[in-house]
Symmetry: C2
Amino acid sequence: MKRRTFLATSIASGAALGMGAESRSAEKADKPEKAPYKRISCEEAFSTPEIVAELKRVAGGVPSMSSGPIAGPFMPALLDIGEGRIQTMDRDGVDIQVLSLTSPGVQNFDPATAVSLMRATNDRLAEAIRKYPARFAGLAVIAPQDPVASAKELERAVESLGIKGGIINSHTRGEYLDDPKFWPIFEAAQALNVPIYIHPREPSSGLASELTMPGFTVGWGFGVETGSHALRLIASGVFDKYPMLRIVLGHMGETLPFVIDRIDNRFQWESKLFGKPKIERLPSEYLKNNFVVTTSGMNYRAPLMATIAQIGVDRVMFAADYPMEVQADAVREMEAMPLSMQDKWKVWETNARKVFAI
Amino acid sequence: MKRRTFLATSIASGAALGMGAESRSAEKADKPEKAPYKRISCEEAFSTPEIVAELKRVAGGVPSMSSGPIAGPFMPALLDIGEGRIQTMDRDGVDIQVLSLTSPGVQNFDPATAVSLMRATNDRLAEAIRKYPARFAGLAVIAPQDPVASAKELERAVESLGIKGGIINSHTRGEYLDDPKFWPIFEAAQALNVPIYIHPREPSSGLASELTMPGFTVGWGFGVETGSHALRLIASGVFDKYPMLRIVLGHMGETLPFVIDRIDNRFQWESKLFGKPKIERLPSEYLKNNFVVTTSGMNYRAPLMATIAQIGVDRVMFAADYPMEVQADAVREMEAMPLSMQDKWKVWETNARKVFAI
């Protein structure tokens, strides 16, 4: 680390936490040890003033769960994809953040606005990456409202802007990606050899009445929404049509690694009795071949070890979910996992380098 | 084992599998080894001709997911709570089954029919237990349509019939147990010091449109339905009102042990932003104090080890989910788990003895 950056970091973090000189040095001692690997963090959110303005407009001035984290205290950190963010990364021991527009992306907007803001936001993202090419990578905004324009934009983002894949925040106005009308996006992703990250958002209206539970909507409802979405994709046959398609799920696979054996078991039984979706393999085979997961918001030991046991350490990548989670805690928690150096290296760095071609 | 039973078992199982003399002895070798503990299996289903008739009548002659397993090939095994079932238990190495009326119980019926069939079925259950007191225990049918009658019936079942607790199959005509109108049932359960088992069923109408996915409805949809129900109970404050209330969840806690850290984390955050349910403790504290889980349909290593790590081995009990699952496989899978003898003893026997006072 250059001396200038080091000083700026110490001052910034000390100031943010209201610390004096003594605590600054204590905090320095807490900093994760230097590691042979780079720490890459795969689900890290940002926003832009234009997106925030349109989210507010659509919400009629009343930010809610469907406006995403703009309802929270995260706005200053979300809007900073420059020096301030780099300083938090230095402070917390994160080498590279893979940036993505915070949930729900442009998916609440009318199609024309969504397409226009998709392009503008990808340009903004590319600009941030150009400024800090060793510290940032990015996932492209997608506007599923217009699948053809989105496929073209994904191509532009990957080929002209150096972006590493795309991100979609679960349903788009109640519609899911198992509908083949959305598949031009997947066709493009496979052709470009880039992954699509399916990120959570609030449950669609069918689910919302039961899963919007004050205090539990994000921890449970968002995960159910997104895990259901992943299973719909498996059931749709999209992975038979695009066998090289790679999907990224956050939050340790949205509980799917925990239940996948039972899903296989009941899939076989239910298929016999009620007719089965026309797919060629067992659900778990798609999970183990077409999906990778990140640890965003789930840097906890038991689910990590279960997930590695179920889908293999080659399919797990670190994420903090900055700024909605405390990045320093996430780093510390992952560093404390009982993994071999080889496995840590994979989870911290090499898996992400392969998946996102970083 | 008595010689007569042993012979009958060998013949029954050999015949069922279409085996000759050689395979019978191979099969004998496969039988789980004699263990110092008794094997108690905690979520084992039965039905009665009266229940089946009413389920068929309500379904208009078209059995579906909402009729429960009567749509499947399980009927003969469900209707047998006598010698035939004992023989499968001997063959598979299960010492005691805790019996419960198969999902959805009486919860689809009009209140008067539900109450009447609740009582009749509990009498039937008690009769089976009286005939095989060393092999069967039972959970009482409950008709949440009439909470007061159900509370009285639970008292009768426990005090007069020797039944060990009650079972409720998630929602009752779309209503959940977080509604205080149902709480007389919980008040009775606490007063009687018996647990309530919350068993899965098909998702309620709000959830159904998204979670009824051919091939995935049971493995995923039923679990989401039931896990959501458990979180609603936590959010309702029922465990602050009845702190000694014990709830049993099947299927390894319906994924809650996997996500509970994240639920705690987001609960604290979401509560700050949007207002929190009026409960006194963190969600995980209720999970670890008021819930026990069984392994029904989830006798798989990674989720078992994660669950033990999260909520402790004292809160995990074996279940096969007979006859919807292959009992012999469930026993073999649990016997193969990398647990100490002491922990095996707990999961197989002593935890169930404590929870159900067997």
